[in-house]
């Protein structure tokens, strides 16, 4: 049972489930074999990580571009600090918004402090959705900019530690074609 409390075990487990489960009938047993523990310990470990609220979700991770959502706009807003929370919650409620984060300004180079991500079938759809947000959240006096994505140079699950030689199989499995 010591292993369950072992942070190295948890880090390795986090890395594997982040990179993706093997597509086999008993994926948790396969992960257990890789980690040298039991399937029960793998399942308990994942449950523990979930209980802490560290996961956003656990399931199929889709690539929007391949599903016809060709336009991706990162819409950035310059919101007065005292309104960030109110506006953030307003923007975050819409199903077409996939992220809504406050980030620091870096003056004078960068003055936007609220970031929202919109996926749409084309640029016009994304622009229309940004306008909808302006109307619904009362942002007519707020400066915003839409940064459309062009080339994707890399897209994969996160790694949480430097790669070690013994990780090479897991690491290779995690690398997939750019979306």
């Amino acid at each position: 049972m010591d292993m369950i409390r072992d942070t190295a075990f948890e880090t390795a487990l986090i890395e594997i489930i982040s990179q993706g489960l093997p597509l086999v009938k008993q994926p948790y047993a396969a992960v257990a074999e890789q980690l040298g523990c039991s399937e029960t310990e793998v399942l308990a470990g994942i449950q523990r990580i979930m209980m802490r609220g560290d996961l956003k979700r656990f399931g199929i991770v889709v690539r929007h571009r391949q599903l016809g959502y060709r336009a991706n706009g990162m819409v950035v807003w310059d919101i007065p600090d005292e309104r960030v929370s109110e506006v953030g919650h307003c923007i975050g409620q819409y199903s077409f918004v996939t992220l809504c984060y406050q980030r620091p300004r870096r003056l004078p180079d960068w003055h936007y402090n609220l970031f929202s991500m919109i996926h749409g079938q084309d640029r016009d759809a994304v622009t229309a959705q940004a306008e909808f947000i302006v109307e619904q959240c009362g942002l007519h006096d707020i400066e915003h900019s839409i940064l459309f994505s062009k080339r994707c140079f890399k897209q994969r699950g996160a790694r949480y530690r430097a790669k070690q030689p013994s990780d090479s199989n897991a690491a290779r499995r995690g690398i997939t074609a750019n979306g």
Binding site: F58, R63, Q66
Partner: protein, 152 residues
């Protein structure tokens, strides 16, 4: 975009979260969809080969595990691909996109801790020769339930 079967549509839309924590999770999914376990596995394998899905796995909240940031660089167009290659070489970088803006290269860096994160940003700055904007998350206003795909 190719047409997706009804099974593919349901898999893609209904299983972006809630992966069963059981010995045979794909059999559980198959039961919910009224198909065979092997059909689910074969369909997922095909979707992954086609690049429609990236993986079946976990998406973590930022900064719950390790340290992460969104970083941006303004790179002259002619040097952009070379700069992107340098950025991609870092194992800590998991997303790297070109965007239409003066700041045209945007990448996410996830490291084991804050110190390593700052080292990576400094190394990228030194290797590319352009300053990096470090824009870590301060507040999150969204609960990610996956993306609602509209089939047309």
């Amino acid at each position: 975009m190719r047409q997706f079967s009804r099974l593919e549509q349901r898999l893609l839309n209904e299983f972006q979260q809630g992966m069963p924590l059981t010995s045979n999770p794909y059999a559980d999914i198959a039961r919910q969809l009224g198909v065979y376990e092997t059909t689910v596995l074969e369909t997922l394998q095909r979707l992954q080969t086609e690049g429609v899905i990236s993986r079946v796995g976990a998406v973590f909240r930022p900064n719950r595990v390790g340290a992460s940031t969104l970083a941006a660089m303004a790179v002259p167009e002619a040097e952009l691909e070379a700069a992107a290659d340098i950025v991609n070489q870092f194992d800590e970088v998991n997303h790297n996109y070109e965007r239409e803006h003066h700041y045209n290269l945007w990448f996410v860096v996830v490291a084991s801790d804050e110190e390593r994160l700052q080292d990576v940003l400094l190394e990228i700055e030194a290797s590319c020769g352009y300053p990096v904007l470090d824009l870590p998350l301060l507040n999150e206003f969204f609960i990610d339930l996956g993306f609602d795909l509209k089939w047309t």
